[in-house]
């Protein structure tokens, strides 16, 4: 039996979930909701995500890598190059699992990297670790 114990209060943060597959956006949002997040927005590619990040306030980005128009990695680079977005916690959730991908993501400034398929426990762990490390909670 799994009892839901919330160690951290994520309810004040707004998350942007970016994935070109609607199914995955819903799964990620649902898992984050179970982990305690309450405010969400979604984008289906990096370009749409960047527009949303620039026009309203977010405290966390969870993004796929391989997407049309603008990839998650390019989105990450744009975020890190922007003065007001560069400190945004950024988690990549992707099926790209080669060593060089992970190195590339780390060099671009990703705060976490989850390989699909993943479990709800993995997502929760990584999210908690990121917020702890960034001193946001």
């Amino acid at each position: 039996m799994q009892s839901k114990v919330i160690f951290m209060d994520f309810s004040k943060f707004t998350v942007l979930v970016v994935d070109d597959f609607a199914t995955m956006r819903r799964i990620v949002s649902n898992l984050l909701r179970e982990a305690g997040f309450e405010h969400f927005s979604e984008a289906e590619d990096g370009a749409e995500a960047l527009r949303k990040l620039e026009s309203s306030s977010f405290q966390f980005v969870v993004s796929d890598w391989n997407m049309p128009k603008m990839t998650g990695l390019d989105l990450l680079k744009s975020v890190r190059n922007s003065d007001h977005l560069k400190h945004l916690p950024f988690l990549l959730v992707t099926a790209e699992a080669r060593k060089e991908n992970i190195i590339e993501a780390a060099q671009a400034g990703a705060d976490g990297y989850i390989v699909k398929p993943f479990t709800s426990a993995t997502l929760k762990d990584k999210v908690e670790a990121i917020f702890k490390r960034k001193g946001l909670i």
Binding site: M1, Q2, S3, K4, D19, F21, A22, T23, M24, R26, I27, N30, L31, E34, N66, A95, K116, P117, F118, T119, S120
Partner: protein
């Protein structure tokens, strides 16, 4: 290696000869015919693959919709059960020893409420697991998209090969052979179409 490097003109001439003998070999072996058939099959194969992608997405979305209905119900049932258990407990404490029969019933009700809360929690965990199994749609979808891209590319290459070797074959009618298997919906006959077709044939 001391072989003299060939100049561009020679190279093109030799390439031309190779291409010509390849064309001739292809015609002699009847390969162009096969290629024409494959080229005709490819759009169909592509449609079928993307149909598979659409079907799995639809199924996954339906499951996620159902989970969206069931999960909030689990959450509120858990909260209500917890409140109920706490309420009963406090009443029992206040009324201690005043009526044993009532207290026994209350004890049962308190236990039941606690179990109900655990039950709702466990069901919610099951729903989360069901949801997580839908992630196959994202991964299979990506694979299908990739294969469709490969098929399209192959089709382009085959078509240009055919344009060079046997353009007149391209408008040829293709032979219908074998069983086609499940069709994409807009190509498939509906049961009504099948029935009326059979009726017109005297069945």
């Amino acid at each position: 290696m001391t072989a003299n490097p060939i100049n561009a003109e020679q190279a093109f001439k030799e390439l031309g000869q190779i291409t010509r003998s390849l064309h001739e070999a292809m015609s002699e072996l009847g390969l162009t015919q096969g290629l024409v058939e494959i080229t005709h099959e490819i759009p169909d194969a592509r449609d079928r693959l993307s149909h598979v992608g659409q079907m799995t997405e639809k199924a996954a979305t339906r499951v996620l919709d159902l989970i969206d209905v069931a999960q909030p119900a689990c959450h509120s049932f858990k909260t209500e059960s917890q409140c109920m258990a706490a309420e009963i407990e406090s009443i029992r404490k206040r009324a201690q020893g005043r009526a044993d029969e009532v207290d026994d019933v209350m004890a049962v009700a308190q236990m039941f409420s606690t179990e109900a809360a655990s039950f709702a929690d466990a069901q919610n965990a099951v729903l989360s697991d069901i949801m997580m199994t839908q992630d196959f749609q994202d991964l299979s979808g990506q694979v299908i998209k990739k294969v469709i891209a490969i098929i399209s590319q192959t089709e382009q290459q085959l078509l240009s090969l055919l344009m060079h070797s046997a353009p007149e074959h391209l408008c040829m009618e293709r032979a219908q052979v074998g069983l086609a298997g499940p069709q994409v919906p807009d190509k498939a006959l509906q049961q009504d179409d099948v029935d009326s077709m059979l009726a017109s044939l005297g069945f």
